[in-house]
Amino acid sequence: MRNVAHFNLPARLLHWTMAVMILVMLFIGVAMVTSVAHYHALLALHQPLGIGILILAALRLVNRWRSPPPKLPVELPGWQRKAAHASHILLYGLMLGLPFVGWAMLSAAGYPIGLGGAVVLPPILPRDPSLYAWLRPLHTILAYALFGIILAHLGAALMHGLIRRDGVFSSMAPHPIR
């Protein structure tokens, strides 16, 4: 295996922490909207977890800007390079956008957004059910989109790690192997 530069430690920590958080979040979200028995318990997890993801995504963007990721291997076909680039823009957009849409839609619905204890987030939109009626389905559509892109990302990462073995996977591995 060739020696390829790694993502820095904060990037790897953030990636794997957020990978778990986002997957858990998507599963909570999809279960929550149909569940009767566990609706409230799942909602109580969903809100603080979403704000946690928003904060970590912002930190991650800052880290990425200060410490740019390693370059993709030169032998990677152009279309794959473009797909990788586009999917990462979408991933970042959704990691930041989904929590914001969630926060905005709950503001429009007039729900207090509790993060545990007496901590309640301020609304970021005026109370307006017609706005909520737009944002609520948007939140769902974006969540499905994020799940789809994560599946593509997972498949592509494993292609790099198991088949191409070009160092792209190990650049983000928790314990990089040379």
């Binding site: 998507l26 599963f27 999809v30 279960a31 909207v33 149909t34 569940s35 009767v36 028995a37 566990h38 609706y39 409230h40 318990a41 909602l43 032998e75 990677l76 076909p77 619905a109 007039g110 729900y111 207090p112 204890g117 007496a118 309640v120 987030l121 301020p122 109370r127 059910p129 017609s130 909520y132 009626a133 737009w134 609520r136 799940f147 599946l151 997972l154 498949g155 494993l158 292609m159 198991l162 088949i163 191409r164 073995r165 070009d166």
Partner: protein
């Protein structure tokens, strides 16, 4: 087979068989994750009760009434304040229960059922929903009914009851056979229905008692949790309904009487909290707690104004019973999460629908109260 190696850009050392195996493993992982997601979203268990199915059934039984709540559709907004007596301080650290604390309150009185234009009838179950506006955006939302116990114990029974109690279009009454079959399957509901039927029916909203029905838990400063139920007990003496009321031409007489009463003088309810003893079932809303349980007067709700439903007021609020301040938490009653879920579904649906004016309009100042 080396075509596969070329297509995938496989590393030089990998044999075609290995590439195939690894591709299969990746495919299986992606498919498995998708399957787990579908399972979590309920796609693999279409028979399960969902929040959408509960609200669908309300819509089926009541017909479409876009813009209105799917249940407790006919209502009137109110506003006032809560004055704490301090009596609840020991049991709950909720800031609104501190002695002398005054908390702004908004809310809604309503009639049960999904018909927004039904004529008022004294027999119809009445509700009092309140929203306490604590400091720092904390809220307490609570929906209360004027019945002694709730008619069902579980969300599944509730779902069946909506259909069983559906009024027959010709008689206006539920099909007795359907009700009988439901009660045979749910003896706890039969007992609850008898208690509900035996309740005293008062002349209106202002002299009525509204109960939490579900149990909650009060959390004290030291972390001690106490199961509680509560009731909003009117300060004015209850007078029984009279046959004359039913004969009135005013289809909104219950709401109009309330507006008139509030115009005359603020209408007050005492918030009476009943702590449960060990053995009192907090998960079964069909069972009354023994009447000898102590009760604590923790303060008064004082309603000073009423207002017809309109944009931005109580019409656009989801009185989710699990929007609770620090110091109050839900109990193990399965109906609580179900109410929260079904209300959210009802709210999401009506949020985007065109709105029609409520049947209950602001009555002119020359009303009965003046």
């Amino acid at each position: 087979m080396s075509l596969l190696n070329d297509l995938t850009g496989a590393a030089p050392g990998l044999r075609p068989r290995a590439v195939l195996l690894r591709l299969g493993a990746i495919g299986a992982l992606v498919a498995g994750t998708t399957g787990a997601f579908a399972y979590a979203g309920g796609w693999l268990s279409p028979g399960d009760l969902t929040q959408a199915r509960i609200v669908d059934r309300f819509e089926r039984v009541n017909g479409p009434h876009p813009g209105f709540r799917r249940n407790h559709a006919k209502g009137l907004c109110l506003a006032g304040r809560f004055e704490s007596s301090g009596g609840g301080e020991r049991l709950s650290k909720a800031s609104l229960l501190a002695a002398g604390q005054v908390t702004p309150v908004t809310g809604r009185i309503a009639l049960a059922g999904g018909q927004p234009y039904a004529a008022d009838a004294t027999m119809t179950v009445r509700s009092l929903a309140l929203r306490f506006h604590l400091s720092d955006r904390e809220e307490w939302r609570t929906g209360n009914n004027d019945i002694p116990v709730f008619p069902v114990r579980t969300p599944e029974a509730f779902y069946q009851q909506i259909l069983a109690a559906k009024p027959d279009p010709t008689t206006g009454k539920p099909d007795p056979e359907a009700l009988k079959a439901f009660f045979a399957k749910h003896p706890e509901s039969a007992k609850a229905a008898a208690l509900i039927k035996a309740r005293t029916i008062t002349s209106g909203f202002a002299d009525d008692t509204f109960r939490s029905l579900n149990a909650f838990r009060f959390v004290a400063t030291d972390g001690t949790e106490t199961p509680v139920r509560w009731a909003f007990v009117p300060e004015r003496a209850a007078t029984a309904e009279s046959p004359a009321q039913a004969g009135r031409a005013d289809k909104n007489f219950l709401f109009d009487d309330f507006t008139a009463a509030v115009r005359q003088a603020p209408v007050r309810w005492h918030l009476i909290v009943t702590p449960g003893s060990p053995g009192d079932d907090s998960a079964d809303a069909t069972l009354p707690w023994p009447s000898e349980r102590a009760s604590i007067d923790v303060g008064s709700v004082i309603v000073t104004t009423t207002e017809a439903e309109a944009t931005g007021n109580c019409r656009d609020v989801n009185f989710d019973p699990l929007v609770l301040p620090v110091g109050i938490v839900g109990s193990d009653d399965p109906l609580l999460s179900a109410r929260s879920a079904a209300y959210a579904q009802s709210f999401a649906r009506r949020a985007g629908e065109p709105k029609a004016p409520s049947a209950v309009l602001d009555t002119p100042m020359s009303g009965a109260g003046l």
